[in-house]
Structure formats: structure tokens, C-alpha cells
């Protein structure tokens, strides 16, 4: 019955090997060596509030990646893997240049899910597993995902990753972060914009300073924390005091041409104006 209805199955760790951190570092190096082609970038204005019923007028989280500062070291990829318990890929997949990394290098600059305000992946998801949070995140409900991979086909930048193998059983995953669940075989995953950090931050503020508006100030995602050049800036597009808006105000913002019309929350910065 449990199997039939797709209820929660607790992963069994007994008797499986767990990879060492060194193997993750090695995989990141391999991914860096086969970087994908650069995007065609087009200039866009600063992202505003999402025009959809139910969207929050206070928060829209996003990131800006500073192309002038980024040197493509790949530390963000590793930090992301550790934060989100991203599995290693089987060897044959790795050799074909297919990784589970949520951040990938495109022409030497990191690219992750752009969290489009008008996301095409969410429209085609049959079960509603891919949906939008009021805070502007394109989210995934892993338990609701039936693995039709329609979202993956419909993502113009290929940000979605599919769990082809049971990474726990294959010994490809290490639970670095207890706060993030391991994904089962057969579900899609992608950059969550470290939703667990957002959630913890929100809870902490609600408990510590009840009644105040939560704008996510001072919060950083794993990749932006790990960046030695401070090239990835996380923040709230609707909060004029956030470091993101303060920095992006004086820069030219770009996004890949394929998704320029889809209102992305993650942008590239270049040059000053």
C-alpha cells in the first residue's frame, strides 16, 4: 500500500557507502573542465514585484552575479552541493558532461535556475509539483513530482536536473546538511535559492522579533557566502535597503536572451553606469 500510494519512504543508509568530500571536489573540477557555452545576454531593467495574484508585495528574492568580479573558480558549485546535499553523478554521466549540480558554468560564469517570475516549467507541470512561492521562488515539491520531465524539456536554459538513479543506494550522496531532504529516484530538482535558509531566517525573526515585517535582510545563500570575490549577491529586489538593490542600482543588468521575456529573478551584472 505504501508503495502504491507514494507515501514517504525513509531512506535506509545501512550498508551503503557514503562518498568523501574529496570526491565532490573532484567532480566539481571535472565540471569546470567541461564548461558549457556562454549565454547570449540581453540587458534588462531591475526586477520588480511579480505580477500575479497572491505574490508578496514585500519580498521577491533573487540574486545578481557580478561578471566583472567572477573568475569562475567553482567554489559556489561545491558550496551548493554541501548545502543542498546534491548527489554525485554516475561515472558514465560525468564523462558525458552531465552533472546534478544546481550551479553550472556557462562560458565561465555560474548559472543556476533563474527563478523566472513567469516560469514556463511551472506551467507544464501536470501535478503542480513545480510552483511559485509568494516570495518569488520557483519551488519544487519533491513528494508531488511524478517525474514526467515536462518541466525539464520546457526550461529554456536547462536548469533542471533529473534524478536518474537512486543516489542513496548507489552511494553517490552524502547528507552534509541535515535540514535538506535527499531526493528520491525519479524526481526533478533544481536551485531552490536555499529555501531552507530563508525559512529558518523567517522562523528565527518571527520568534525573536514578533510582529515585524520579514524582508530577509542580512541573509545569504550558500553560493554567495562561499564566493571569495563576493560576486554573487543575494537579496530582496523589493527592499530598497538590501545589499542586492544597493549594488544593482549602479550596474547594468543582463539575462540570457532565451528567458529575457520571462521576468527572471537572477540576473548578471556588468559595468557601472
Amino acid at each position: 500500500m505504501q508503495v502504491l500510494w507514494g507515501c514517504r519512504r525513509v531512506p535506509d543508509f545501512s550498508g551503503v557507502s557514503v562518498p568523501e568530500l574529496a570526491e565532490f571536489e573532484k567532480e566539481v573540477r571535472q565540471a569546470l573542465s567541461c564548461s558549457k557555452g556562454a549565454f547570449d545576454l540581453v540587458q534588462v531593467p531591475m526586477p520588480g514585484a511579480i505580477r500575479a495574484p497572491g505574490a508578496s508585495p514585500l519580498n521577491r528574492f533573487g540574486m545578481a552575479i557580478d561578471l566583472d568580479a567572477c573568475d569562475g573558480c567553482g567554489k559556489c558549485i561545491l558550496a551548493c552541493m554541501e548545502e543542498n546535499n546534491i548527489p554525485l553523478s554516475p561515472k558514465e554521466q560525468r564523462d558525458a558532461g552531465r552533472f546534478m549540480h544546481w550551479i553550472e558554468m556557462h562560458g565561465g560564469a555560474p548559472a543556476m535556475c533563474f527563478h523566472c517570475g513567469n516560469a514556463p516549467c511551472e506551467k507544464v507541470c501536470p501535478t503542480g509539483a513545480a510552483s511559485h512561492s509568494p516570495d518569488g521562488l520557483s519551488t519544487m515539491m519533491y513528494k508531488r513530482c511524478t517525474g514526467s520531465r515536462f518541466c525539464g524539456a520546457n526550461c529554456p536554459v536547462g536548469a533542471r536536473k533529473f534524478n536518474y538513479v537512486d543516489s542513496v543506494k548507489e552511494g553517490l550522496v552524502r547528507k552534509f546538511n541535515p535540514g535538506v531532504p535527499l531526493r528520491e529516484k525519479g524526481v526533478m530538482e533544481k536551485c531552490s535559492l536555499c529555501i531552507q535558509r530563508l525559512q529558518d531566517h523567517k522562523h528565527a525573526q518571527m520568534v525573536a522579533k514578533p510582529g515585524t515585517e520579514w524582508r530577509g535582510s542580512g541573509l545569504k545563500t550558500a553560493c554567495s557566502e562561499a564566493c571569495p570575490k563576493n560576486a554573487i549577491i543575494f537579496g530582496n529586489w523589493l527592499d530598497q535597503d538590501s545589499s542586492l538593490v544597493k549594488e544593482a542600482k549602479h550596474r547594468n543588468l543582463y539575462v540570457p536572451a532565451e528567458i529575457a521575456a520571462l521576468d527572471p529573478s537572477v540576473v548578471y551584472m556588468r559595468g557601472r553606469r
Binding site: G6, A52, G152, K185, V207
Partner: protein
């Protein structure tokens, strides 16, 4: 002859079954997938077989509705091929899924947990259309099968044909939307519905011509139709080439050049000539679907592994086996005392033609259609109102693709229910009631879903009790044992209880918030249950407070 075909089918099925089993077991890693679309052979086979499933109804229902007479046996063969292809086609989307257990979540039917399928997704439309098409085709087939003996059913055939006519075109339009609404550049184009319908009819005609050859029969009008569709397809392929630069020589040669040999009398009069042309069309369209589904794999020969071939063999074997076994089982009913096959030339004053006039058809359809429209309206208003959890709200336009199938489903069931019931024997009636009961249990089980504590635990932070009250609850309920600062109250505990667990950060993390809430509410070993004394939100706040305390103590 049929026995040999059944054996061939069984051998193909057995060979393919290993591939099928492995794909079920291994999931989507088993077959070759395209790095860009993540799809692969199952979806290609699904599109191919759903296309093949269209010709039967097309030939039978549309010819009938338009008053073009075909021999009964000819149309029965075509309809049987529709049903068998549908069974084959329905298997492949299941194989394709990553988590097959969750397939029921695609049904746009609110479950007890308040989850509703995303009606904006073409996959949901697809699922509904094909399910309805299967049911209505089955009803049509049953009506047609028994109509020789039961005059009550004979009257239903033409109204049913009129119901099926738009549905056939609708279903394949929806299948094409699976591709046409996406952002994959190779799949875009407003001509996709027409392109898919033409392709479906074309391949289906080729299949029916092959099946009729096995009956030693030849229908000239189908051959003509097939030839004219080959020009349509050639035009579409040329258009695709101009628009996107996509061109496959093999597909064009096998699908558009080879069929032109039907112009030659030597070829079309020869059984093997006809079979060759029909098979070449099937191969061409199968290949075309594969290239379409995996647009970045131009090197098909390299991409095809043994498992992909095994799935192809499985689909062919299953169809051949199903079709010819059913054909043999039903041969008495299929053939009847009807010796005529192929086209029938009716005289102007033939009583068969006068028997059903169009006005009879529409008066029979009036009530079922009205009920269908009503049910559809109710469904649309309900579905718009219960779309929850998705930020972008559902518009009525998203439900339009479901309207016609729903209307046709209700109408055909209303139309057929009484006549079918009246001809059933008592024993079959009993079986039908039992089956309906079992179906009801399944629908109820789907609705109820599984037990799930996880969704009820999802709580928005706004509902969290404020920190002041949490501190108060901690002080009044918890601090007596666990201590005000989270290091337990040793004096009290030593006297009355064994030591409670240390609330260290590692321990809290290893347990997780959900299970800690569970422990607070339901108790555990020496910990008292607090359900009724603290609410679930408060328990969640307490867990958070514990984490804060543990962080301070570290």
C-alpha cells in the same frame, strides 16, 4: 495464418518484455535520453501508437457519419485496431514517468488532501482526452459488435459516430499541444495540430491497410486517401525544413517518396507491393516521431540501444498479439453473416440508406448533449474555484481542452447506458454492478490518497505563535523538567523521573522539526503527551525555541 501471426506477436512480446521490465525497474535511466529534453523512446512510441489508434475510428466513425458506406467487417477491423493501439499507447507514458506510483496525481480530481492537478499543463489535458477517447471507442466498438443481433444498438451507431468525429480530431490536437506549447525551438509552430492529425491519420491508414491485407481484402478508397495524405505530409516536412531547417532524408524518402509507387498498377495490385509501401510509411513515421521527441539527437542509429529496440519490439508484439487473439476470439461476431468486405456501393433507393435520416440522429443526441453541456459547465466552474496552491490562477481558457472530451464522455454514456443495460443478461448485469462497485472503491481510494502526516505539518510562519507566548508556554509546561535555559532542571528530574534527553543542537537536527512536534504532541517514553494543552503551531514554536536555547548553550 492468424495462428502464425499470434506466434510472431508472442515472440516479439517475449523479447520485448525483458526490455519493458528493465525500463520499469530501472526507470528513465534505462533507455537513451536526450540531454536537452530528458525524453526518449517511450514518448515517441506513445505518439506513434496514439496516432495509429486514430485511423480505426476515423475510418469507421467519420465515414459512417458522413454517409460513406464501408463493409461492416472492414470497419470492425479498423475499430479493433484502434482499441489495441490505445492499450499499447497507454502503457508508454507510465513507463516514461520517474515515479510511477504518483501517476494518479495527473488526474484533475481534487483529492482529500486538497491537491489538485495543474490544469494548465498539456499533460493533464492529454491524459483526460485519451482516457475519454478509450472509453468512447470501446462503447462504439461494443455497439457495433452486437448491432447485428440487437436492433436497439443499431440505432446508436450513427449518433455515436457523430460524437466520436470531433473527439478524434480534438485528441490529436491535444497530443500535438504537448509539444507545441513548449519552449523547445524544434517543437514550436501553430501548424502542429494539423501536422499531427495528418500524421496520425496517415500512419493509421497504413496500419489498417496492412491489417486488411491479412484479411485478404483491399479497400481502394483507403489507398487513395493514404496517397493524398502522403502529399500533405511531404508539404509539412518541406515547411518544417523551410522554417527550422530540420530535414531527415530517411523520413522523407520512406514516408513521401515510396508511397508514390502506389501510382504504379504493378505495385498496388501486388499484395507485397502494398505491404511494402504501408510498412515503409510506418517506419518513416516512427522515425519521425523519434527525431521529433529527441531533437538534439540527429544520429538516431547511434542513440538506439538494445533496450530502445526492445521497447519497439514490445509495442509491436503486444499489438499483434492483442489484435489477432481478439480477432480470433471475436471472429463469429465480427464476421457474422456478412460476407461483403471493403466498399459497398449503395443504390439511391437502398432501404439501408433510408433507414436512418439525419434528423433521427440529432433527436437521439439532444438529451445526452444537453446533459453533457451541463456536467461540463459544472466541472469548469468547480475546477476554476478549487485551483489551490499555485500562484498563477487558472483561467477558463486552460480548461477548454477538457470541455469537449467531458461533454462527449457524458453524452455517450447517457446515450448508451439504457440500450446496453437492456440487452445484458442477468449474470452480466451482476458482474457489471460488481465492477462498478470496485471502480467506485478505486476512485474513493484515489480521492483519499495515502495517509500523510507530512502535508498537515506544513504550516505557514504567520500562524506561528509569537515568541512571548512561546516563552510563556516553555516556562509553564516544559521548564519544570527541561529547565528555563534548556539544560534540564536536575533537582526536580532526579527526584521524580529518569533523566530526559539532552536537547543538544545535533540531537535536534537529527530528529527534525516534524518528529519533534510529534513527540511534543503525542509523548515518547517518559515525555508526557501535550496534545490538547498546546496546539500544533505552538508545538512548532516550541521546537524553534528549543533550537534557539540549544544554540545558546553550545
Amino acid at each position: 495464418m492468424y495462428r502464425i501471426l499470434v506466434y510472431i506477436g508472442a515472440v516479439l512480446l517475449l523479447l520485448g518484455a525483458s526490455a519493458f521490465g528493465l525500463s520499469l525497474w530501472d526507470g528513465p535511466t534505462a533507455w537513451h535520453t536526450d540531454a536537452r529534453t530528458f525524453w526518449g523512446i517511450p514518448i515517441s512510441l506513445f505518439v506513434l501508437w496514439i496516432g495509429l489508434a486514430h485511423a480505426g475510428t476515423l475510418i469507421s466513425a467519420i465515414f459512417l457519419a458522413l454517409g460513406y458506406p464501408l463493409g461492416r467487417r472492414t470497419s470492425m477491423i479498423a475499430e479493433l485496431s484502434t482499441l489495441c493501439s490505445l492499450v499499447v499507447a497507454a502503457l508508454f507514458p507510465l513507463v516514461h514517468l520517474g515515479v510511477i506510483d504518483n501517476f494518479y496525481m495527473v488526474v484533475p480530481f481534487l483529492d482529500a488532501r486538497g491537491n489538485f492537478a495543474n490544469l494548465r499543463s498539456p499533460l493533464v489535458w492529454d491524459f483526460c482526452c485519451i482516457a475519454v477517447y478509450g472509453v468512447v471507442s470501446l462503447l462504439f466498438f461494443i455497439n457495433h459488435l452486437f448491432s447485428e443481433k440487437k436492433p436497439a444498438l443499431k440505432k446508436l451507431i450513427r449518433p455515436m459516430a457523430w460524437l466520436l468525429f470531433p473527439l478524434v480530431l480534438w485528441v490529436h490536437t491535444i497530443v500535438s499541444l504537448d509539444f507545441a506549447v513548449t519552449f523547445v525551438p524544434e517543437w514550436r509552430g501553430a501548424y502542429f495540430p494539423l501536422y499531427f492529425i495528418a500524421g496520425a491519420i496517415y500512419s493509421g491508414l497504413a496500419l489498417v491497410i496492412i491489417l486488411l491485407t491479412a484479411e485478404h481484402c483491399r479497400v481502394r478508397v483507403l489507398e487513395k486517401l493514404m496517397l493524398s495524405l502522403s502529399w500533405f505530409m511531404a508539404a509539412f516536412w518541406f515547411w518544417e525544413f523551410l522554417l527550422k531547417g530540420m530535414f531527415s532524408f530517411e523520413v522523407f524518402f520512406l514516408g513521401a517518396v515510396v508511397p508514390q509507387f502506389m501510382w504504379l498498377r504493378v505495385i498496388r495490385e501486388n499484395t507485397f507491393g502494398r505491404l511494402l509501401v504501408a510498412f515503409s510509411i510506418l517506419v518513416s513515421l516512427g522515425l519521425e516521431r523519434y527525431i521529433l521527441v529527441t531533437p538534439s539527437e540527429y544520429d538516431v542509429a547511434n542513440a538506439f540501444g538494445w533496450l530502445d529496440l526492445g521497447l519497439v519490439a514490445f509495442s509491436m508484439g503486444l499489438f499483434v498479439l492483442l489484435f489477432f487473439v481478439l480477432r480470433a476470439k471475436l471472429s463469429a461476431l465480427l464476421e457474422g453473416d456478412d460476407v461483403v468486405m471493403g466498399e459497398i456501393v449503395l443504390q439511391e433507393d437502398d432501404p439501408a440508406k433510408m433507414e436512418v435520416s439525419e434528423s433521427n440522429v440529432f433527436s437521439a443526441l439532444r438529451l445526452p448533449l444537453l446533459l453533457g453541456v451541463l456536467v461540463t459547465l459544472v466541472y469548469v466552474t468547480w475546477a476554476v474555484s478549487c485551483d489551490s496552491g499555485v500562484l498563477v490562477s487558472l483561467s477558463v481558457a486552460n480548461i477548454v481542452p477538457l470541455c469537449l472530451p467531458l461533454l462527449v464522455l457524458v453524452a455517450s454514456i447517457v446515450l448508451c447506458a439504457r440500450p446496453l443495460w437492456s440487452i445484458l443478461g442477468n449474470r452480466i448485469r451482476f458482474v457489471a454492478i460488481v465492477l462498478a462497485g470496485i471502480l467506485g472503491v478505486f476512485v474513493g481510494a484515489f480521492w483519499a490518497g495515502g495517509g500523510s502526516d507530512t502535508t498537515s505539518a506544513v504550516v505557514s510562519v504567520q500562524e506561528l505563535a509569537s515568541a512571548k507566548s512561546i516563552e510563556g508556554i516553555w516556562a509553564s509546561r516544559c521548564a519544570s523538567c527541561h529547565g528555563n535555559d534548556g539544560k534540564f532542571n536536575e533537582k526536580f528530574v532526579r527526584e521524580f523521573y529518569p533523566l530526559p534527553q539532552k536537547l543538544s543542537l545535533e540531537r535536534l537536527d537529527s530528529l527534525g522539526a516534524d518528529s519533534l512536534v510529534h513527540v511534543i504532541l503525542n509523548g515518547r517514553i517518559n515525555m508526557n503527551p501535550y496534545r490538547g494543552r498546546v496546539t500544533e503551531d505552538e508545538a512548532r514554536g516550541l521546537v524553534h525555541y528549543m533550537r534557539l536555547l540549544a544554540g545558546e548553550n553550545q
